[in-house]
């Protein structure tokens, strides 16, 4: 489903907060704040996760020179059970809150809903975004952190990061959301939770293709098409899928992935970064800043999410995936 925003809501402020290991990220210089302690000096990882979200939102209100009372909606999601980090952050922020779960695609789905609320006239300012904390998420989906199991080359590393934006009425000085595609849930029967890129690539393919078709656009109409956290292997699969559908190699250069690039070529992170905070951190720091400086004029951000739970995986279910896209422009 493709939505065209007539009022072109703008992204008026952005903030990314990341963990200590994320200093290794190639996007590190674009982040607003990095904390030395993975737990943000809290007792538990989950509290640290929540604190990270609050800190990102505080940076946003500070940058926009507003306070929490001026913000109409807070749309956030994460990967912990029942999204308690987002819920607890909303408790502190005291802003009308809608929790969203699109797994790692929440970074984009939250912006889509904020833009809709803005277009509707229901929201003056809305904070949207997503976050993930490595330790809190890994323990949820995989083994204990200190368990010495071998991960394959296709496995990804959940990034510790929170990325949020302030969505408001159109302002030509800021990047604007002109269109969006709400993705379908795609499942090609993949069952390996250590190869999420392979499971998610078809969802990204489906959403990008639908968006371009409905908007009557080609790859070259964009300065960049960036997926969320397919990782190095997933990105290769997606490129191959587009190559087979007739996209030329030089056009494929425009297709990049936040997760694949996040930690650079560091092999310790295997196929790259993942997590709801991964795409949020890259989109809402690097991409927004490149749009602001005018280096990018039009980008398509397509965040991908694997909609599984540890329970569904153990019960032998395949991994359903989704991808949501937003088209941002800078005048």
């Amino acid at each position: 489903m493709v939505i065209v925003f007539q009022s072109k809501p703008s992204i008026l402020a952005n903030a990314v907060v990341a963990g200590p290991l994320e200093k290794k990220s190639v996007f590190y210089s674009y982040f607003d704040s990095v904390v030395e302690d993975e737990r943000w000096n809290q007792k538990t990882n989950e509290q640290g996760h929540s604190k990270m979200i609050i800190e990102a939102c505080e940076i946003i209100t500070k940058k926009a020179n507003i306070n929490n009372l001026d913000v109409d909606y807070f749309l956030s999601g994460d990967l912990v059970n029942q999204m308690t980090p987002s819920n607890f952050a909303a408790r502190e922020l005291a802003i009308s809150f809608i929790g969203l779960f699109s797994a790692c695609a929440t970074s984009v789905s939250s912006v889509i809903i904020s833009s809709l609320l803005t277009e509707l006239g229901a929201s003056q300012y809305a904070i949207a975004g997503a976050a993930s904390q490595h330790n809190a998420i890994e323990r949820q989906f995989r083994y204990p952190i200190e368990y010495g199991g071998k991960k394959p080359a296709t496995a990804q590393w959940t990034a510790t990061a929170a990325g949020y934006v302030l969505v408001g009425k159109h302002n030509p000085e800021y990047p604007s959301v002109v269109a969006a595609t709400v993705g379908k849930v795609v499942d090609y029967g993949d069952t390996n939770p250590f190869h999420m890129g392979g499971a998610m690539a078809p969802a990204a393919f489906d959403t990008i293709k639908a968006h371009l078709k409905k908007r009557n656009q080609k790859f070259q109409d964009y300065d960049l098409i960036m997926t969320g956290d397919l990782g190095k292997v997933g990105l290769k699969i997606l490129q191959t899928m587009f190559a087979q559908s007739g996209i030329k190699p030089e056009e494929l250069q425009l297709l990049r992935d936040a997760g694949a690039e996040f930690y650079g070529e560091d092999e310790a992170f295997l196929a790259g970064a993942s997590g709801a905070g991964c795409s949020a951190a890259v989109y809402f720091s690097y991409i927004i800043q490149q749009l602001k400086t005018g280096r990018f004029k039009r980008v398509l951000l397509c965040a991908t999410g694997a909609l599984l739970s540890p329970l569904s995986f153990q019960q032998g279910e395949s991994i359903p995936c989704t991808a949501h896209a937003i088209e941002l422009t800078m005048e």
Partner: protein, 151 residues
């Protein structure tokens, strides 16, 4: 694209698992761990009052203690990522599975957190270890009773 077609494409693009390399790494690291274990066995036999029959328990305890230290300092995951089954199969891997779960659930309290989850990973090893030991013993008993083998 059909599911079959996609599976083929995915398989072509995904780098193959280096089974031989993994097996060699596991063989050597596993071998080194077992050699250390054997050195500890000799240590207890030579310097303490243990025999070949009784030295098993203190050796296993020492190996698990070492494994716990490595786990606590965050080194066992690094070893595991390199060695795979080489560090998972020996008793040190069992120790790692237990202590990593205990560390992980410390924030939920001693009883419900650590107590309730410490055997989350190792529980199946204990269950199937005990069950298979029972059946092997049963087979042995039957074979000895009917006189097929002598023990």
């Amino acid at each position: 694209m059909q599911q079959e077609q996609y599976k083929n494409l995915e398989q072509q693009v995904t780098p193959p698992t280096p089974y031989l390399k993994n097996a060699l790494k596991a063989f050597f690291v596993g071998g080194i761990i077992c050699t250390i274990g054997h050195a500890i066995t000799y240590f207890y036999i030579i310097f303490f009052d243990f025999t070949e029959n009784t030295v098993g328990n203190p050796t296993v305890s020492t190996m698990i203690f070492l494994s716990m230290l490595l786990t606590g300092f965050g080194l066992y995951t690094k070893l595991g990522q390199f060695a795979g089954a080489g560090s998972a199969v020996p008793v040190t891997g069992f120790g790692n599975a237990v202590i990593s779960a205990a560390i992980e659930h410390r924030t939920e309290g001693i009883v419900l957190g650590v107590g309730g989850n410490i055997f989350k990973l190792a529980g199946s090893v204990i269950l199937f270890g005990v069950a298979s030991a029972f059946f092997i013993s049963l087979i042995k008993l039957i074979l000895v009773t009917i006189g097929v083998v002598q023990w």
